[in-house]
Amino acid sequence: MVESFWTIPANEALRTPLTILREQATALTEQTKGTLVGEAEVLKQGDQKISIGLSIRVPALNDYKYRILTYDQPVTMYPGSLVTRIGNMTGHGILNEDDFVQQLKHLLSSEEAQRLLTSLLAQANEAEPLAPRA
């Protein structure tokens, strides 16, 4: 048997930034009972960088989509840059997973984010119900 020089890290607990965004996307969809739909997606993969985003889709507003944040990360995931219009956190540097989670929590629970959700929910409720699909 060939001696392996690799040290394979345990990856059961590994959460990528995209996984974390997906969790928050699902949480939004569930908490609003689908009135707002969270979407986490890979926006662009370049040679050295990956860009991922978290968006809110509003089915009642013709699927209007608002991208609340993007995270530009290297292949190694960190350090990266979190960019959002909320809280003027333009190009905030993220050092590691803990930092990412903390900043994300701070952002998504902020008063500005609440105002955004309130506005979207109100407009979704105001909109005429969608006709059932044929």
């Binding site: 860009s51 507003l61 013709n62 209007y64 989509k65 219009r85 979207l120």
Partner: protein, 276 residues
Amino acid sequence: MAVLLFWNVRGSEVAEPVAILCRQYGVDVLMLAEQGANTAQMLRRLNTGEGAPYWELRSPVKSQIRFWTRYPVTSITPVFDDGRVSIRHLRAPVGAPMLIAAVHMPSKLHMDDQDQYYRMRRLRGDIEEAEGRVDHRNTVIIGDLNANPFEDAVVAADGLHGVMDKRIAERPPRAVQGRDWRFFYNPMWSRMGDESKGPPGTYYYARGGLVSYFWNTFDQVLLRPEMLRYYAEDSVTVVSNIGGKELLPASQAAQDVPDHLPVLVRLSIEMEQNDG
């Protein structure tokens, strides 16, 4: 004829000049970036005189770009926002539908060329997704790209793929690195330099260092080839004079006036109706 106008007004008080512009050019959809005036003041100015009234389009979220229109407000629906990009779907009472991507990209002061390129690739992806949702590619990009027409972010196949020649833009998508990339036609190539029609650019900045363009054409209009049937030559205008008052360069140093020039495009979308 649909007339679209974009102006990055840098927070300046522009209600009066904008109103003059709208009357002078018969603007149907007005888009302002960094707009400071309140809605009531703007509407009061826009709606003095005759003609169809302008309305501000309600955006589902706060956006850098605000829209006014004299089309029925229900004819324009929001499709996408991310703070820097606002995509709207126009279904005018008469004529072809159109996807309008109004853009205000971050300044070069805050982004290097590579980041800008990266940001533009994301814009292309967002536009393609929106085109898929509305099921057509009658798309117009209009706004402050903070990049010149010749920069990689605007020219590259995986950027906006904006070309200077309509005939090339009308070719099938170009295959590069295993993917087909659709074109945009970028008429702003014909709006650069002092022998072009209009001013030499849309933004004057005499930067230090060895390379300075002085005039930049950051404010642009790009069209999908599907829109070229509604586009006649010289239908893009860089406005440098409002009501007899020169906007640049005499005022370029002043802090209380916009440092970008407005761009507008006229599109004969009603031709769709006449074809049948």
